[in-house]
């Protein structure tokens, strides 16, 4: 019974991934047509990017602060508190920055994209566009997909900056690490290509593609009911979170 249920879940998940892949192809084909809706894409970048700044900045600050505190505590055992800035920066640039930002983005922007498109489906707005000879994939789905890919790396950079600032606030301002040591150790160790470009930007772009695709797909294919929209929104968070963490491992194993 349990084995049969497991097989059912696996089959269903594979079917979802396959359908999502086919949807991605449709989406990619619609992107050139969506360029004529540039204003809509910019509006979506504002909505999913600028409107997510508060949560990303706040969380980045606290993640950096708690990281600074924990690392100072551990490193003080070995007399290595001067490395606090370095370790905070590397942990944030390589992992916490892109991953936490993507998780926050899935919760803040991904769900709103899914709910918005799902409600448009439920209230026949997508069908109305079809009837007005406007392709909803190009007008609705593609701008939101592109907006996510543009916004997430930018948010990732902001998160990292706030994280390092948080680490500095705790390490230097509060716990008394020397300011010069904090920055010089960090700048001497952090590698722009390995930690910033590969760590923050590349991962964030990959997460942006995955989260936006899942959010748009879930919204577009949701059953046109209030329950359907609710489930789709939940699925966006669950599927995005799993995809982010799994993809992070795969990317890290290639990039490290």
């Amino acid at each position: 019974m349990s084995a049969r249920m497991d097989r059912g879940v696996v089959t269903q998940s594979l079917a979802q991934i396959g359908a999502c892949g086919l949807f991605l192809l449709t989406l990619l084909a619609a992107i050139p047509r969506s360029f004529r809706y540039g204003r809509e894409t910019v509006r979506q970048i504002w909505f999913v990017g600028a409107m997510s700044l508060t949560i990303v900045m706040t969380c980045g600050l606290f993640v950096g602060m708690v990281l600074g505190l924990q690392l100072y505590d551990v490193l003080s055992i070995f007399g290595g508190t001067s490395a606090t800035g370095t370790v905070v920066a590397i942990a944030i640039y390589r992992e916490l920055g892109p991953v936490v930002t993507a998780l926050l983005f899935a919760g803040r922007a991904g769900t709103s994209i899914t709910a918005e498109i799902g409600l448009m489906r439920a209230t026949d707005q997508l069908d109305a566009m079809e009837m007005m000879a406007v392709d909803p994939i190009a007008y609705v789905a593609a701008p939101r997909f592109l907006a996510g890919i543009v916004a997430l790396p930018l948010l990732g950079v902001v998160f990292c900056a706030m994280g390092v600032f948080g680490g500095h606030l705790v390490g230097v301002t509060w716990l008394g690490i020397d300011n010069g040591t904090f920055w010089s150790n960090m700048t001497a160790t952090v590698d722009v290509h390995k930690d910033i470009i590969n760590g923050v930007l590349l991962k964030s772009i990959a997460f942006g593609i995955v989260v936006s695709l899942i959010a748009v797909y879930q919204g577009y294919t949701t059953p046109p009911t209030s329950e359907g929209v609710a489930y789709a929104t939940t699925r966006t968070v669950v599927a995005s979170s799993i995809a982010i963490l799994a993809l992070d491992f795969v990317l890290t194993s290639f990039l490290i």
Partner: protein, 277 residues
């Protein structure tokens, strides 16, 4: 470039032949045949669940049947490429049952939406066209309201203004009279008639309101059990005396269309000993 809808001269604009559609195991259309005359107002009537809206969706290519042909102005809709289907739809207006206004835009922008998407008209011309259409449905003063600020009847009239903004050759109305107060209903009836008379627009409307249909429709199809069971002008149909028309227009529970959805024995369901009541 030929006009995909209005350039042909024959008298039938929509031709349905042998349309068979099965949805979730239920036969919606069983080799349905019907012809919609050009330049007339045609009403599609029938009991709930007989596929009247589904028929409209076949005409616009939103749905495809399992078998048969649905042609609009000589073009078989299921065979059209997406590009050609969109070209066809640019000449078709569609009034949705629930209005389907775009909630991000105000009334003005909703009506202007098709113009902005398919034309490069100067803003002043777009403004004049939109205001003309809104004036026609009595909502020029509501141009800057958001859809959430409209009543159901107002939203329907805005959707109607949007459907006619391109002066289409064919308009499909899905339940256009639901939720309208008597004043708005009368104005919408007049508008449908005026559009038909002055611009020669063909109208297909799905409706249940017999009095309204009698007032406006030139031809009525009564659909039941997946087929056309009666057709003609509304007054004739209402008095033709067949079991279908007698039950439908008389609103009788007994007749060829069962009022009750198929179910088991009522007495047994209520737990009475011996079953039947």
């Amino acid at each position: 470039m030929t006009d995909p809808v209005s350039s042909r001269s024959d008298d039938t604009i929509v031709r349905v032949r042998g349309l068979t559609t099965v949805l979730n195991g239920k036969t919606i259309f069983d080799s349905l045949d019907l012809d919609i005359p050009r330049g007339k107002i045609t009403a599609i009537m029938g009991p709930s669940g007989t596929g009247k809206t589904t028929l409209l969706k076949h005409i616009t290519g939103q749905m495809r049947g399992d078998r048969g042909e649905v042609s609009v102005d000589g073009q078989n809709v299921p065979d059209l490429s997406r590009e050609n289907l969109f070209r066809l739809r640019e000449r078709i207006g569609y009034l949705f049952q629930n209005s389907a206004l775009l909630t991000d835009f105000d009334v003005f922008e909703n009506v202007a939406f098709p113009l902005r998407q398919h034309t490069k008209l100067p803003e002043v011309l777009i403004r004049n066209i939109v205001l003309t259409k809104l004036q026609a449905v009595g909502l020029r003063g509501a141009a800057r309201l958001m859809p959430t600020e409209l009543s159901g009847g107002m939203a329907r009239r805005v959707a109607l203004a949007r459907a006619i903004v391109f002066d289409p050759a064919l308009i499909l109305y899905d339940e256009p009279f639901v939720g309208l107060d008597p004043i708005a209903l009368n104005q919408v009836l007049k508008l449908i008639r005026t559009l038909n008379k002055t611009l020669g627009i063909t109208s297909i409307l799905v409706a249940h309101e017999l009095a309204a249909v009698q007032h406006v429709a030139d031809h009525v199809f009564l659909i039941a059990n997946g087929k056309v069971v009666a057709q003609g002008d509304a007054a004739t149909l209402a008095n033709d005396g067949s079991p279908w028309t007698r039950q439908f227009f008389g609103g009788e529970a007994d007749g060829p269309v069962p009022f009750q959805y198929p179910a088991g024995d009522y007495g047994t369901a209520l737990g009475f000993p011996g079953g039947s009541l």
